[in-house]
């Protein structure tokens, strides 16, 4: 593929509008997911992520805009296109009365008619999520992590080209989480396009090629994790332990004023004996901050400086107030 060939799109959403009465859930939302990428969809609760996904999946009606999956409209009767899509919903969607094997086999049977091929795919899916020893177990006998893996197996058993993962690691232990994330990367390596939503920023940062942050039904940021971090004002966070400031309120006020006067400083806070400085990107920020403290003879303890995380970006873009 040369540079002039447009990247083939797995999902294209343009000017999508969805209203619930007077409430606008999706407000002119655009979303473009390239084939074979892991695309992160972030947003606070109620931002419109799930609504957008349900519209893309053809389950939810919408007021205006267009949605195309692999260049086609996903109508309820477009069964050929549905065969290429897998869904791993946030709630575990399996039959509690069936065993692991029966569940996976059933969901495979909805997509694959050939019995031999089906059996092979089922075995592969079970091996992929590491449930070989639990074939005869019913879901109630599985731990949270194993249950999530079963949920994933049911969604990917038919080898879809496009897979939606809606918070697949909620309430699982770190070992299971790592196994799930490794599995998603492996699916992507095998050629699947992934659309991934999560509230765990470090997961998204680790997994996704590109990330779109939506709020109030609109896209407010789009790009790679690095690009998003560069796009925000905060470039560095410096945290300095300075218990002496707590004992001298006048000195504390004076130090905070002088720190705020520094040209690269965005925000300064002092709480719990820790001084936190939000600063723009710069090479000597830490030295300059420490100089202010040193000039006043204030002893310092632990010092740390780190670049902004995706979490910082998310909070800066969507605000810190609580959402429903």
């Amino acid at each position: 593929m040369d540079a002039t060939t447009p990247t083939p799109m797995a999902v294209t959403v343009q000017h999508l509008v969805k209203r619930y009465g007077t409430h606008i859930a999706l407000n002119d939302l655009d979303l473009h997911v390239n084939k074979r990428e892991i695309f992160g969809l972030l947003g606070p609760n109620g931002s419109g992520k799930t609504t957008a996904i349900n519209c893309i999946l053809g389950l939810l009606s919408y007021d205006s805009g267009s949605i195309h999956v692999f260049g086609q409209e996903l109508t309820p009767a477009n069964y050929a296109l549905k065969r290429r899509i897998g869904v791993v919903p946030q709630d575990v969607a399996v039959f509690n009365e069936l065993t692991v094997l029966e569940n996976i086999r059933y969901f495979c049977s909805l997509y694959i008619n050939d019995r031999k091929q089906r059996n092979q795919l089922v075995d592969e899916a079970i091996a992929f999520v590491g449930l070989d020893d639990y074939r005869k177990f019913r879901p109630k006998a599985l731990s949270g992590g194993l249950l999530r893996r079963l949920n994933i197996a049911c969604g990917i058993v038919h080898r879809p080209d496009l897979i939606f993962f809606d918070e697949p690691t909620v309430a699982v232990d770190p070992q299971s989480r790592n196994a799930i994330l490794d599995g998603i990367q492996e699916l992507n390596r095998q050629g699947a396009t992934i659309i991934y939503t999560s509230h765990y920023m470090e997961e998204v940062e680790q997994l996704c090629n590109r990330i779109e942050i939506i709020d109030h039904g609109t896209c407010i940021a789009l790009g790679t994790a690095e690009a998003l971090k560069n796009s925000v004002q905060a470039g560095e966070r410096i945290v300095i332990e300075a218990p002496a400031l707590a004992e001298h309120p006048d000195l504390q006020t004076s130090v905070l004023q002088r720190l705020r006067a520094l040209p690269f400083v965005i925000e300064v806070q002092y709480a719990n004996t820790e001084l936190t400085v939000e600063a723009q990107r710069g090479e000597h920020n830490l030295v300059d901050v420490l100089s202010v403290l040193h000039n006043d003879g204030i002893p310092v303890g632990h010092v740390s400086a780190r670049p902004p995380t995706l979490n910082d970006v998310f909070l800066e873009l969507t605000g810190t107030e609580l959402r429903d």
């Binding site: 969607a93 969901f107 969604g155």
Partner: protein, 422 residues
């Protein structure tokens, strides 16, 4: 569709609460009914009652009385062996219904003592000097006979004995009058035979209007089957909820599959229908073979009734399951509520409910026709109580018609693929 059918069968038959309500509950209720209503039919049967017979001088002096008492007694030998009377001139004992379990005593005092000791003797029969018989019962027997339903056997038995004695006395008075005018006739043994035959003859004879002997309690069991059928709506309600994207994550996942919705619904319907049919057939088999409630020898029609009832229940379950904007719990609640309320009007909850059901049938037949529990109850009722299969065919056509209407309504609601809310 086949896979969905198999999965729905497995999930239905592995769901413990469904198994309890659909298999265990009707059987438990039938067992309870069996205990409650076991004596209901027997109350109309005549059983010999333990009665003391005073064999005093007046008794021995009257061969008619002796012959009559012997005729209505079960334990004839005991009566005759203990008697101090001379051998009866009337040798042939007429064939009649035995009414008393005679306990011979020599005197009235002895009889009264027996009653006082409450040895199970209900009363005593005494002969007066004219040869007429009278029945005296103890105070405790009087209370028992007027009391609870369990004692209706005693009440019926005593009433019949009393009537028989009155009839005997009336004939005896007639004979006495004839004897005064024609004493030679009384010496004729054939005349004696005729008299006793007349005195002990039944004045009624049983006529059956059906091929099968109706059982009073059977209607309660049939009403129970109506309720059991409607309870089995829950199979379909649950199964439909599990394939609707707006009701469950499982429904969302299944909605995303490349299977046409109607195929999944067909699989669900057939599996739920089969499960419901099995549940009903098990209940009918239990009622028939364990509780010994007859279906009039028409077991084949009873199975067809189960299948038709299950068809209606499944169709209603699909309709309730398809109702928009209601959670699964609310839908299950609606199903249970309908089963309980409609069963009241089909007579499940005892005699009062049965009378209510009859009143509705008489005064508001349309309401009875619209009650699915009543129609399912009638399916079994028609089998037992009518010789002709026409009433059964009429009821089954109503049941199928109602089911078709439910399926049509459900299809209209389930044809939606995209939802405004999820």
């Amino acid at each position: 569709m086949w896979q969905t059918f198999l999965i729905t069968m497995k999930t239905n038959l592995r769901e413990k609460s469904a198994l309890f309500w659909l298999f265990v509950f009707p059987i438990a209720l039938a067992t309870m009914f069996n205990g409650m209503f076991a004596n209901l039919g027997e109350a109309y049967d005549i059983h010999p009652q333990p009665i003391a017979v005073v064999q005093d001088r007046a008794y021995c002096a009257n061969p008619f009385t002796q012959t009559f008492i012997t005729a209505i007694s079960r334990n004839t030998q005991q009566l005759e062996s203990s008697s101090a009377c001379a051998p009866n001139t009337v040798q042939q004992r007429p064939q009649t219904q035995t009414l008393i379990d005679a306990h011979p005593v020599a005197t009235t005092h002895e009889a009264i003592d027996l009653l006082k000791h409450d040895d199970g003797i209900l009363g005593y029969i005494q002969t007066n000097t004219k040869g007429e018989l009278s029945l005296t019962i103890s105070a405790s027997t009087a209370i028992k006979a007027e009391g609870i339903q369990d004692a209706s056997d005693v009440h019926t038995g005593l009433s019949i004995i009393n009537t028989a004695l009155a009839s005997f006395n009336q004939i005896l008075q007639g004979v006495t009058a004839v004897g005064q005018q024609n004493p030679q006739l009384l010496a004729n043994p054939q005349f004696h035979e005729q008299l006793i035959k007349r005195a002990t003859a039944s004045v009624t004879h049983e006529v059956t209007l059906t091929n099968f002997k109706p059982e009073e309690a059977a209607r309660f069991f049939y009403a129970l089957l109506g309720m059991a059928a409607l309870m089995s709506m829950s199979f379909a309600i649950n199964a439909v909820a599990l394939c609707q994207a707006n009701l469950s994550a499982l429904g969302l996942r299944r909605s995303m599959s490349p299977q046409p919705k109607y195929r999944q619904l067909c699989g669900i319907f057939l599996a739920s229908w089969l499960c419901c049919s099995i549940a009903l057939i098990v209940s009918v088999a239990y009622i028939r073979f364990v509780c010994h409630v007859s279906v009039g020898g028409r077991e084949g029609l009873a199975v067809i009734s189960c299948i038709a009832a299950a068809f209606l229940a499944t169709a209603m379950g699909i309709l309730i399951g398809a109702l928009p904007n209601l959670s699964l719990n609310v839908k299950t609640g609606i199903g249970t509520m309908l089963a309980c309320i409609l069963s009241l009007f089909s007579g499940l909850y005892g005699q009062f409910a049965m009378e209510l059901s009859d009143q509705i049938k008489r005064n508001a037949p349309l309401l009875a026709t619209l009650n699915p529990a009543q129609q399912i109850t009638d399916l079994f009722y028609d089998i037992l109580f009518y010789d002709s299969v026409m009433p059964f065919l009429r009821t089954i056509s109503i049941v199928v018609g109602m089911a078709v209407i439910c399926i049509a309504g459900a299809s209209l609601m389930l044809r939606r693929h995209r939802y405004a809310h999820l």
